[in-house]
Amino acid sequence: MLPIRFDQAKPFLTLGLALAAWLVLPVFFKSFLRVSFFEMQAPVDTAVSYTRDLKDFWSLRNHSKNELIEAGRDLARLNASYELKVQENVALHAEIDHLDGLLRLPSFENYRAEPARVARRDFSSWWQRLIIRKGSNYGLTVGAPVIYTGGVVGRISEVHAYTAVVDLISSPEVRLAATLEDDTRPISYQGALTSSFGPARGVVEYVPLDIFMLSNQTRRLVTSGLGGVFPPGLVIGTLTGVSASADGLFKTGEVQLDPRLAELTEVTVLVPLEPAEAKPAPPAP
């Protein structure tokens, strides 16, 4: 009877031994294994992403000349309006620099914008991430903020050789300091996993008690700039309602995020500059 029993217990014994061996395995070995396994998959994601781009290119080539002429005309109009905005921007920057100089404030322009294509979206039941086609080869760093035309995308959580992983703001791992657009007091934002077929969501905590909202009212939530990771004023989402928290000291609320977050194909990483690369502080008057 004994050999039969041992034979039956052998699979469980092996599993237990494997678990014990895994628990005592040095962390650097596990880290090395993790990076190796990720890098093995990365070329597949990148290759599929390039193939998708090629497919888009060929589908765009099928457009007629009239459509291209119309698109060119629309772009020319858009460029003209942007030219005006650029001129305004230059004037505003000069004004800011002047005021910074007068008040001896440190410069906030400590980021380099690095556009990157999205290689793969990974929106599982438990996390929401993007894999982008740039990594340490472009100097990306862990924790760097990622933005797009609609505001904040998320934060870089892993940097690999040719790819990087971005935790989306709808992911529960992402917490950041925010403010309401017409308010300066900081509140805490955290991503919350979304319902299927619906827009992404987040939650806010520590909302001051004097913030009131009607049932059909919404307010924009922006980054506060506190913590130094995200520059201030970037759009996070829309606060759709607040209610008193359990302790009654603050309020909590739900944030609706931009539906475009689920369809992103290109994002911009704000790479923090080294002190030597950063714009020097304006001279004191």
């Binding site: 993790r34 039941s125 959580s157 996993l193 319902s195 299927s196 077929f197 969501r201």
Partner: protein
């Protein structure tokens, strides 16, 4: 162990295919999970060492691309593999229906275990369950649809590598 590579190849292929499919489905906030399918063929048809190694390595591959503690999915897969392996002697394991039922059960178990492990720190834990349920239903339907193809692919890959699955099965009874 010579069977490890031909066993591992279809598992890696399925993992990569499902990740690309999830990329397409991301716009609808729907995602598919087929962890149970990765376990069943190896547990029902292969020897313990080869199956365990293949399933564990596939789990590590999934862990590397996920924000979970490295080894989480590997050990969940290995546990499911061990449980199925320990009862396979009492099953008509060559039957497609048996493989399919065990794949669905294993997928359900791994999905629930992962959800309980990962959603403890979510700010709206109860709000997430409807989505989890929908994803689970979609995953189970998808798994049931592709399981016959995947079992055939695994059998064929082993045969191409010179290992007759039927012989393998008989040897391991």
């Amino acid at each position: 162990m010579p069977r490890l590579l031909p066993t591992l190849l279809p598992l890696v292929l399925l993992t990569l295919l499902v990740s690309q499919l999830n990329h397409v489905l991301a716009s609808w906030h729907v995602s598919l999970f087929v962890g149970g399918l990765l376990v069943v063929f190896a547990a029902l048809r292969l020897d313990f060492d080869t199956g365990f190694a293949a399933v564990f390595l596939t789990g590590l591959l999934g862990d590397a691309a996920s924000p979970v503690r490295f080894g989480t999915q590997a050990f969940l897969f290995a546990t499911a593999f061990t449980l199925i392996f320990s009862v396979r002697g009492r099953l008509p394991r060559g039957e497609m229906l048996v493989s399919l039922v065990f794949a669905l059960l294993a997928n359900l178990g791994i999905f629930i275990a992962l959800s309980l492990l990962l959603l403890a720190h979510t700010p709206l834990p109860f709000g997430v369950w409807p989505r989890l349920l929908l994803n689970l239903v979609c995953s189970q339907v998808f798994l049931a649809l592709i399981a016959p193809w995947f079992f055939a692919l695994q059998t064929r890959t082993l045969a191409l590598a010179g290992f007759e699955p039927r012989d393998t099965s008989r040897r391991l009874t």
